[in-house]
């Protein structure tokens, strides 16, 4: 009996020892990391951890503005086989707002949540933009941070088109039409936040208004132009398409916007030098075989052309400018030798000056400002000054624009020089003569392959007339534009 009892106890012990508890496994989910947070976007990393190959019906993240997750945004990533990491992304969040996030999984009908993380969406900012100066329609890049999906950009009050938003940090925009100001802040709107550029954007400005058309249907080349006072502009001589000379001038009255023919008592000519009061030299016959020079020299005074003694030199395509009523002529003579001469208006005599360090001619442009002449050489874009009192030359700057085929314009308004419109370009630049900084102005309308016929200064405006290059076949009107350098 005792043996039976002992055997029974032993069997009982074996039975108890043989019982195995069912292994239910350990499966849980964690919210590991906020991988990315921007103004309106968040990327979260979660992980299903399990010691078995679980089949999760759904998993993802809850995101809410309160820690209790009372009205959460649910980022559902669907079914998942087995443990491992998962990433959820949500956009359209409020900028600069604190959120709470937690991972979840649905396992066998039960919702299991991971730990909760606090995070904050970020505030937008503008750091810089480039270029700082541009024309309407050009592209501009704004660098900053947290430019969300619906970011809007304004130049002053004008909204710009956002072409591209790269990684919420770089906006490519197209410069919109300007409002009333040439310098405006760039404003970036992200949801209800607005941030501005630390510096102002400057529009490329300058407006051209078509005010008249040359009264004759001709294409004028190699001509002469000058002005008498602020309102009388004279255009004439030269040739019609280098086929026949033009006799006399057309005078435009800026006050009445009317044209009038003016006779020239001298002979017709091409390639003459001229200023507002002098005309001289040039060729008296068309063609170049051989060159037939015109030695006559004329002064325009009190509305009359007065002939002066013939020139002591023969020249064509020379460059001329005036200073204190004296005339300075630079160019090359009939033997292609360079010269620099001064006509003293009081003694009516010519004086030979030392040659300039580089050759200048009508291909180049000049203007006078204070006690100096400024000359731009189209051979290398260098700008030289000639000091009238010291008679010294100095190279001071370089022209940044397109020199085309030369024969451009240089005019002064106040302390600004307007240089450009060389043959076959429509570029115009402003040079601040105090700071020697260049600013590009809006290009002149019309065909870029044009040639200057005349330019005049009246008040704050420059009047410009151009003709399409001689190589362009067909008839084109010669339009006279009024250029406002500060027009927006």
């Amino acid at each position: 009996m005792l043996k039976l009892r002992s055997l029974g106890i032993l069997l009982m012990l074996f039975w108890i020892a043989s019982c195995t508890e069912e292994n239910l496994g350990v499966t849980f989910v964690t919210t590991e990391e906020v991988l990315f947070a921007s103004g309106d976007q968040v990327r979260l990393l979660g992980r299903v951890i399990s010691d078995q190959d679980v089949q999760v019906q759904d998993h993802g993240f809850y995101l809410a503005e309160d820690e209790a997750f009372s009205s959460p945004q649910i980022i559902s990533l669907g079914e998942k086989s087995g443990p491992g990491r998962f990433i959820g992304e949500v956009s359209g969040l409020k900028v600069g707002t604190i959120y709470f996030a937690k991972s979840f999984m649905e396992l066998s009908g039960e919702m299991i949540f991971g730990n909760s993380l606090e995070l904050s969406t970020l505030e937008p900012a503008v750091k810089s933009f480039s270029p700082e100066f541009a024309a309407v329609g050009e592209e501009l890049i704004i660098e900053g941070r947290n430019f969300g999906e619906d970011t809007r950009v304004f130049f002053g009050d004008q909204e710009a088109q956002v072409l591209e938003n790269t990684l919420q940090s770089k906006l490519l925009v197209r410069v919109p039409n300007p409002g009333d100001e040439a310098q405006v802040p760039i404003r970036v709107q992200v949801q209800d936040r607005e941030v501005s550029s630390p510096t102002l954007f400057e529009y490329q400005i300058g407006t051209y208004e078509l005010i008249s058309t040359y009264p004759q249907e001709i294409k004028l080349y190699d001509n002469v132009f000058f002005q008498n006072g602020p309102n009388e502009f004279y255009i004439g001589l030269g040739s019609e398409r280098r086929l026949s000379f033009i006799n006399g001038f057309q005078k435009f009255d800026a006050a009445s916007s009317s044209w009038e023919s003016v006779q020239f008592p001298g002979s017709s000519r091409s390639f003459a030098f001229f200023t507002d009061r002098y005309i001289g030299g040039g060729l008296s016959q068309l063609g170049s075989n051989p060159f037939v020079f015109d030695p006559t020299f004329w002064k325009f005074e009190s509305g009359q052309f007065i002939q002066k003694p013939d020139l002591p030199f023969l020249t064509r395509d020379a460059l001329a400018f005036e200073f204190e009523e004296d005339l300075y002529v630079l160019g090359s003579n009939a033997n292609s030798m360079p010269f620099f001469s001064k006509f003293n208006s009081s003694t009516e005599s010519w004086e030979v000056l030392p040659n300039s360090p580089v050759s200048f001619g009508r291909n180049d442009v000049s203007f006078t400002y204070q006690n100096k002449a400024y000359l731009l050489s189209t051979s290398d874009a260098s700008i030289w000054t000639f000091d009238f009192s010291l008679q010294t030359w100095e190279e001071i700057a370089s022209f940044p624009g397109n020199l085309g085929n030369g024969r451009g314009m240089a005019r002064i308004i106040g302390n600004k020089a307007y240089i450009g419109l060389f043959e076959r370009t429509n570029e115009l630049w402003e040079l601040d003569l105090d700071t020697f900084t260049w600013t590009r102005k809006n290009p002149m309308p019309g065909l870029p392959q044009s040639v200057l016929v005349g330019h005049f200064v009246s008040g704050p405006n420059i009047y410009i007339i151009r003709v399409p290059d001689i190589t362009l076949a067909g008839q084109y009107p010669m339009d006279l534009y009024r250029f406002d350098p500060n027009g927006i």
């Binding site: 990391e33 991988l35 990315f36 947070a37 103004g39 491992g84 990433i87 900012a125």
Partner: protein, 356 residues
């Protein structure tokens, strides 16, 4: 006679048994895993992120580690500021920050990569901790016995003196910075290689030059890291680098900039594991091989294995000049029988900041 015949048969039988067939390690083609190497610090400059793809390793040539070209690489901080990196045209797979890039202590940085195949990877945020200054750097001569060779290897161990901050957990990484040393050569025994133009085998001494300043970047063969578990808040001395004596470096004066970088706990853990794995010597006490996790993750396939680590830290450097007299053991002097200027990285003029 029959006995002799038997013996001959046994000997002949032993002969084929003595043959050894080389064992060819046959491995399946390994995955070409993205490998990221990046240590960005607070010292302004062009800093590098290197992207490569791993390849199969075998007993014979299997594959090349290739650079990842044409990727879009950006570094983003926790304010949302993004820095675009440009690929170095002279070193494909190397992506460089702008020249003024520097991390800021307190900020967190993430590395984001888009490969030409369109896969997007992101690192976990790496927070930059402040780094304490190096009080001083001293040296200790180290000799390393080489198994099977009579001559030992030797070099200079760099030892830093650091005052560890008490109120924070600190993790340190040391790297060798650029170095310069006086290189001495023997132009007087220059013997050119015989050629058709100059067939002579006699020495043709050159007049110049015996001594130059040679710049080089000596990377540590080991990983030098530390955490402050054992010296939190205390002044301590730690081994922070090693420069091997190659018979040229310590002939006169040697200069090196030692970089001390604060790293995150996770980066420290990664480097410690890499250090452990690379220092396995086959002993029974070695740690078992482990799968070391990167802090880079594929955003579309988080389970993809990515190798390497993106480290962002703060950096301080300390310069040390080492005179040959400070070494207790030096390698026999190597002789370069030529003008010292012919050696790569060597020039006659000392660096502008050479001040031993």
């Amino acid at each position: 006679m029959p006995n002799m015949f038997k013996r001959l048969i046994y000997i002949l039988l032993l002969l084929p048994m003595a043959c050894i067939n080389p064992y060819e390690v046959g491995l399946d083609t390994g995955e070409q895993l993205l490998t990221v190497e990046a240590v960005l610090t607070s010292v302004p400059g062009r800093q590098e992120v290197r992207l490569t793809r791993s390849d199969t390793y075998g007993s014979v040539f299997e594959g090349l580690i290739r650079p990842v070209r044409g990727a879009t690489v950006v570094v983003r901080d926790d304010l949302g500021d993004v820095v675009f990196l440009e690929e170095n045209p002279e070193d494909r797979g190397s992506y460089l920050t702008p020249p003024d890039f520097a991390t800021s202590p307190g900020r967190s940085y993430t590395l984001q990569i888009q490969t030409p195949e369109g896969k997007v990877y992101s690192s976990f945020p790496e927070k930059v901790q402040t780094v304490p200054e190096i009080n001083s750097v001293s040296i200790e001569t180290l000799t390393i016995p080489v198994e099977g060779e009579e001559n030992v290897r030797s070099g200079v161990q760099l030892v830093v003196d650091v005052q560890d901050p008490i109120d924070e957990d600190n993790f340190y990484l040391w790297k060798n910075g650029p170095s310069v040393y006086i290189l001495e050569t023997r132009p007087d025994i220059f013997t050119p290689r015989p050629s058709d133009i100059n067939p002579s085998r006699d020495p043709q001494p050159k007049d110049c030059c015996i001594a130059c300043f040679r710049s080089e970047q000596v990377n540590n063969s080991g990983i030098y890291i530390a955490n402050d578990d054992n010296f939190n808040g205390l002044n301590t001395r730690l081994v922070a680098g090693f420069v091997e004596d190659d018979g040229l470096r310590f002939v006169n004066t040697y200069r090196i900039d030692l970089r001390q970088i604060s790293i995150s706990q996770e980066a420290y853990r990664f480097l410690r594991l890499v250090k452990q794995q690379t220092e396995i010597s086959g002993s029974v006490f070695d740690p078992p091989p482990a799968n070391i996790r990167s802090n880079m993750i594929n955003l579309e396939d988080p389970d993809e294995v990515v190798l390497g680590y993106f480290i962002a830290g703060a950096e301080t450097t300390r310069r040390i000049y080492i005179d040959k007299s400070q070494l207790t053991f030096a390698q026999p002097r190597s002789i370069i029988p030529d003008d010292c200027r012919e050696v790569e990285g060597a020039q006659l003029d000392p660096p502008a900041d050479w001040n031993p």
